[in-house]
């Protein structure tokens, strides 16, 4: 096909079963370089399961193939992952600097941080608009918006072959949401980064995504955002025809 070089992540016939139940079956999806593909669907439709499969955290059938921007196949892709609500122990004495350094530096963080590592962590945080003062804070002390920003900085180092955003702004205030998405769109444009965005909020999807896919244990419909939004399947799933106007 002509668009082979555009294709970053190719999901073919992916299926997941858990305790005998079919969570996902025959999922076929392509994520292209430089696009934001929105994954929409109801709770329990299998969105988070699909992300876990892409992360290699649960067994699945079928195949997932990754390509870089030049079309060459990547065996072990680097994936950036910004989870919805990071589940972690709020009392853990891990600082932002500890976390970012543990990701990038070799020097063991239990002995402290080398100057270069601290500078690199500062740069990574500032790139996503985070204040350098956050570095000394413990993860459990961060606000929702601050934590999302740290997670994004973490996800973008090293530059990932695929960026997964799972409801990334659910704990972020309104101005923070716009800043977060501006940044994500910037990464998409500058680095031609392929991005998979899981979101409940259709207004965010319309505004920031380039393509969309409706998931209900398999891909019901996918394509350009506006087209997908107007399909009967999406209108029915999100109750867009029921009385009110489309989502505000």
């Amino acid at each position: 096909m002509a668009q082979t070089c555009q294709c970053s992540t190719n999901i073919q016939h992916l299926g997941v079963r858990r305790h005998g139940d079919v969570i996902l079956h025959d999922v076929n999806l392509e994520i292209h370089h430089g696009e934001i593909l929105a994954l929409i669907g109801q709770n329990g439709a299998g969105k988070s399961t699909l992300l876990k499969a892409l992360l290699g955290q649960i067994p699945y059938t079928g195949e997932v193939v990754f390509h870089d921007a030049s079309g060459a196949r990547i065996r072990s892709p680097r994936i950036g992952y910004v989870p919805q609500n990071l589940e972690f122990d709020r009392n853990t004495p891990v600082t932002v600097l500890d976390m970012l350094s543990a990701n990038r530096a070799r020097f063991p963080v239990w002995l402290g941080h080398k100057k270069e590592a601290a500078a690199a962590a500062k740069a990574a945080l500032e790139r996503v608009g985070g204040d350098a003062a956050l570095l000394k804070k413990r993860l459990g002390m961060l606000s929702g918006g601050e934590l999302q920003r740290v997670l994004l900085a973490f996800a973008l180092e090293p530059l990932p072959d695929l960026l997964l955003l799972d409801e990334p702004v659910s704990a972020v205030d309104r101005p923070g949401i716009a800043r977060f998405y501006d940044l994500v769109c910037h990464m998409r444009r500058v680095h031609e980064m392929p991005i998979l965005l899981v979101s409940h909020d259709l207004s965010h999807v319309r505004r920031y995504a380039t393509r969309a896919a409706l998931l209900d244990h398999t891909v019901v419909v996918s394509g350009p955002v506006e087209e997908v939004m107007d399909t009967p399947a999406v209108r029915e799933t999100f109750g867009l025809d029921a009385g009110k106007e489309e989502s505000a």
């Binding site: 955290q57 950036g80 004495p93 976390m99 990701n103 239990w110 413990r138 993860l139």
Partner: protein, 280 residues
């Protein structure tokens, strides 16, 4: 080598309690064991695996029983063998996620203890091995110290090279997986380290106290630490101080060293708890 260390102790600590060779050996053993416990303990607390270290201690009883049944001279081999089987078993059941971690580990823990008691009582006498329950640091032989040193060196090397990845895996497995860290392998490796550590020192620390000694220094450090470096500094420090102070106190009070050391560590824990609350 060991004579030199003895002379050093005599010069630096010219006290009554250091006059005996067994006290010198115990002191040296504590200087090797406690930093080890402080270092590994931080990760046990991070991973919420304190029950796991407890279960491993209990499994040692079954390990000893197997050694008796197989007619071994050194129970270390059978204990270590069973502890590793135990660790791999817990790991496998944990990964299947059929039940919550504390339930799974609790089941393994009581099984290991009960099986050990049944097998030992069937083969003639549980009483003979009850010394393992409390342990006795004063029975450390000079020849055993080099093995403790080796253990310390190996763990420090592991912590130098793999700590960052361990940390991310303990923070959140999905996040670690996104960076290509095989979290399952790391979890298993960590459990094996704890299994070796517990088995190697159980004779001196005792089944009932081993997990307290692993967990208390790290738990105390966590109350006051504000970074990973502080966490480890305090954990190792608290472990060392409680080890040495507990040994000296036990000598003058005529109490069991293991229990006294744990009590000192518990005392320090409550102090840090209050300090941490005031700072928060």
């Amino acid at each position: 080598m060991i004579e030199g260390l003895y002379r050093l102790i005599d010069t630096l600590l010219p006290f009554e309690w250091t006059e005996f060779a067994f006290m010198k050996n115990a002191l040296l053993a504590i200087l090797l064991i406690t930093p080890l416990f402080g270092l590994v303990g931080t990760m046990i607390v991070n991973n919420k695996l304190s029950f796991f270290s407890d279960a491993l201690g209990h499994s040692a009883l079954t390990g000893i029983a197997l050694g008796v049944l197989l007619g071994m001279d050194n129970y270390l081999v059978s204990m270590l063998g069973f502890a590793l089987v135990f660790a791999v078993g817990i790991c496998a059941v944990l990964r299947s996620r059929v039940s919550s971690a504390d339930t799974i580990i609790g089941v393994f823990s009581s099984t290991g203890m009960a099986l050990g008691i049944v097998l030992l009582s069937a083969s003639g006498g549980f009483a003979k091995f009850s010394a393992y329950l409390i342990g006795d640091i004063l029975t450390v032989q000079a020849s055993e110290l080099k093995w403790l040193l080796l253990l310390l060196v190996v763990v420090v090397l592991l912590w130098l090279f793999f700590f960052n990845r361990f940390l991310l895996a303990s923070l959140n497995p999905d996040l670690a997986a996104s960076k290509g860290i095989p979290t399952g392998v790391y979890q298993l490796a960590f459990m094996v380290v704890v299994a070796v550590l517990v088995t190697a020192t159980i004779k001196w620390v005792g089944i009932l106290l081993i997990s307290s000694l692993l967990v208390l220094p790290a738990a105390g450090a966590r109350n006051i630490a504000r970074s990973m470096r502080g966490y480890h500094f305090w954990s190792i420090g608290i472990a060392l101080v409680s080890g040495v102070a507990g040994l000296i106190l036990s000598y003058y009070a005529g109490t069991a060293a293991g229990g006294t050391i744990v009590l000192v560590a518990a005392g320090i824990f409550f102090v840090t708890f209050l300090l941490g609350r005031r700072r928060a």
